[in-house]
């Protein structure tokens, strides 16, 4: 029988994991919202950021979190560039479909580069506090996981504030909801879309750096993340960012709880099960609300 404290521990871990998923899913939602683009390369950039953080730590000995100072703005610029130079080249009629192929190409390109530069050896960042943990009502919580969650929560909170409280955020939301109407209101939707993309990719930088603290990384790791992430945004529905966040939390906790009876590998299947169930019963997702769309 699974003990209560073990259950509680899994719950906590699930919440921490869900937080990270939520941040990543938010990024994905941004890409789709502004340009109807399905960005399969998001998780590849995640791993890239993790590698950069690991490499930074290895070369300088400084805390890998500091690498975010460089990677977040860098990824923002790359995101804007991608939107302006690549995505806009796709014909609007088939943009969503073609974006899948294009970002898929980018993803395997990144994987190939990582494999070429860093080889396929599994890498792990070892920090002074890597093994530290502390007690929380009987559950052992690893410090690195808590930091990762804290980062994700902070980033999500920042994103929320940006979207709700700033003029740019308003313009971004308007563009996501109704591009033509936003244009009529005088918003430069192309530029907003570019920045939206940049923000999305910057969240990948944050998420990847957070991952580097705790996860063993290797070039093809992104495939382990893109499946669950895609499942999250389909289940959550392409509505508001909160929709994806809710689905992320729910699935993260469920995955963590399922690891107890089923083990890590089989617990991952929850995402695919949820994905197929959503497609069968409610293809537009469960939490997206009125804005949810079918791809």
């Amino acid at each position: 029988m699974i003990s209560g404290s073990l259950l509680f521990q899994s719950l906590i871990l699930g919440v921490l994991l869900g937080g990270l998923y939520a941040l990543l899913a938010a990024g994905l939602t941004l890409y789709f919202g502004v340009m109807r683009v399905v960005m399969i390369a998001h998780s590849a950039f995640l791993i890239l950021a993790a590698y950069l953080a690991w490499y930074f730590h290895r070369q300088t000995g400084l805390d890998p979190l500091l690498s975010m100072v460089v990677t977040a703005p860098l990824f923002f610029v790359i995101g804007v560039a991608m939107q302006r130079l690549l995505i806009t080249r796709l014909r609007p009629a088939t943009r969503t479909m073609m974006s899948v192929l294009l970002t898929f190409a980018i993803a395997i390109g990144i994987e190939g580069l990582l494999g070429y530069v860093f080889t396929g050896t599994h890498r792990r960042t070892q920090l002074s506090y890597s093994g530290a943990s502390f007690e929380l009502f009987g559950a052992r919580v690893a410090v690195v996981k808590l930091i990762a969650f804290g980062l994700a929560a902070a980033a999500l909170g920042g994103l929320f504030l940006l979207l709700r409280k700033t003029t740019f955020g308003q313009a971004l939301r308007a563009t996501m909801q109704h591009k033509e109407a936003a244009e009529l209101a005088g918003i430069d939707t192309d530029r907003v879309a570019g920045y939206g993309f940049g923000i999305g990719l910057a969240t990948a930088a944050v998420g990847g750096t957070a991952m580097a603290l705790d996860v063993t990384i290797y070039p093809s790791l992104h495939w382990h993340w893109i499946g669950p992430l895609m499942a999250i945004i389909v289940v959550g529905g392409l509505g508001s960012v909160p929709g994806a966040a809710i689905a992320a939390m729910l699935l993260g906790v469920t995955q963590s709880l399922l690891q107890l009876p089923l083990g890590t590998t089989w617990a991952q299947t929850i995402f695919y099960l949820a994905l197929f169930a959503t497609l069968v019963f409610r293809p537009q997702g469960f939490f997206g609300g009125r804005l949810a769309q079918r791809f």
Binding site: T94, T96, M97, G115, G120, G227, Q268, Y272, F295
Partner: protein, 376 residues
């Protein structure tokens, strides 16, 4: 004039048949001219790719539903064949057919679930499918051998390696011929016209009475079956299976790349794509060894195709050629005054009340109708 265009058409058909005959002869003589067994085995791999790309094209090209997860059916066909041979003692080629039949049956519920969604959702579902199968086949080690792989005994144990490669080269060619035949039959059929209508505008096709879901499902099942045959044949040839290579998104990506590059609207498009990409892959493996650069190359190539030649390399090249060498012909809307008057007269004769003069166009507004009229 009529007999002139008739005889021109006959010459065209004859030329194409001749080209086909020559091409077939060249392909069939390849094992003879291959300098060493390695080159021959590379040839087998390329024909295998051609089978897979053509099979993918049965659904991807006709309906426009792009599956990045066709590796799932490849893997199921391969493991199906392998498991039937090793665990049920079924003769090799019987196992191949049975495995393909099993995949055909499985493809029905999979198709019913996947084809409910369109566009990017469908691609995501296809990726999810191959990922979950990878997970299952890796974890269920007791049944599938897991990451240790599965060894499939050769169907002709007495053959030495070169002969083994040669036999399978011809077997794959036969399978390719079958797949091409299937594509050809569908392409010129009413079923094919319906599928193409789905690709152009699915809702409109449905509004015109096409049972779109049934059509899509049929194409999907046929495509999955041929892909499974390709996978099973590979299992018999290669003899060693590993989930990570059989249930591979990368192989699925190759199939898409090959078909797109060669052109999805042409019978031999995927074959051409397989030749180009297959050769490039072998080259990369030789030059750069075991590094991951072939991934980068695939990514770059796929990106280029998506951005600049989504209809395939042949139309893109033809477009470029027309733009540089025949600038007049590039514009479709050019019509001389005499032709325009002739069209207006013809139209006025057909319909009392005058031409439509619709926005943005002359009645009969392109230069092509003149040749269409001339044909009649």
């Amino acid at each position: 004039m009529r007999s002139g265009s008739e005889s021109r058409r006959r010459i065209g058909t004859l030329a194409r048949l001749l080209a086909l005959a020559i091409g077939t002869a060249l392909v069939l003589s390849f094992p003879q001219v291959a300098p060493n067994p390695y080159v021959l085995s590379a040839g087998v791999v390329i024909v295998n790719y051609a089978v897979l790309a053509t099979s993918w094209n049965l659904v991807g090209g006709f309906t426009g539903y792009i599956s990045l997860g066709h590796g799932a059916y490849l893997g199921l066909g391969a493991y199906g064949t392998g498991l039937l041979v090793t665990r049920a003692d079924v003769p090799s080629f019987v196992a191949l057919v049975i495995a393909a039949a099993i995949v055909a049956v499985l493809a029905i519920p999979i198709g019913i679930a996947s084809l409910r969604v369109r566009g990017a959702s469908f691609v995501i579902v296809s990726i999810a499918l191959v990922l979950i199968l990878l997970l299952v086949f890796q974890s269920w080690a007791s049944f599938t051998g897991g990451s240790n792989g599965l060894v499939v005994p050769r169907p002709f144990p007495g053959l030495r390696r070169p002969e083994h490669h040669m036999v399978f080269f011809y077997l794959f060619c036969a399978l390719l011929a079958l797949a091409l035949l299937a594509w050809w039959i569908i392409d010129r059929s009413r079923f094919g016209l319906g599928l193409k209508a789905i690709r152009e505008d699915e809702d409109k096709a449905q509004a015109l009475g096409t049972p779109t879901f049934a059509y899509k499902l049929a194409a999907f099942v046929v495509s999955a079956t041929f892909t499974a045959l390709g996978g099973g044949m590979y299992a018999l040839w290669f003899g060693d299976l590993d989930p990570i290579f059989q249930f591979s998104i990368l192989t699925g990506a190759y199939m898409v790349l090959m078909a797109l590059l060669g052109g999805v609207r042409h019978l031999f498009g995927p074959v051409l794509g397989a030749l180009v990409v297959g050769y490039a892959l072998e080259y990369f493996k030789l030059e750069y060894g075991d590094t991951q650069l072939h991934l980068v190359a695939t990514g770059v190539l796929l990106g280029l195709v998506v951005l600049f030649m989504p209809d395939g390399v042949i139309p893109a090249v033809a477009d470029l050629y027309a733009r540089f060498f025949k600038p007049q012909a590039a514009s479709i809307r050019e019509v001389s005054t005499a032709e325009l008057l002739a069209q207006r007269a013809a139209e006025a004769g057909a319909q009392p009340g005058g031409g439509d003069g619709g926005p943005g166009g002359e009645p009969g507004g392109t230069s092509v109708p003149t040749s269409a009229e001339a044909k009649r």
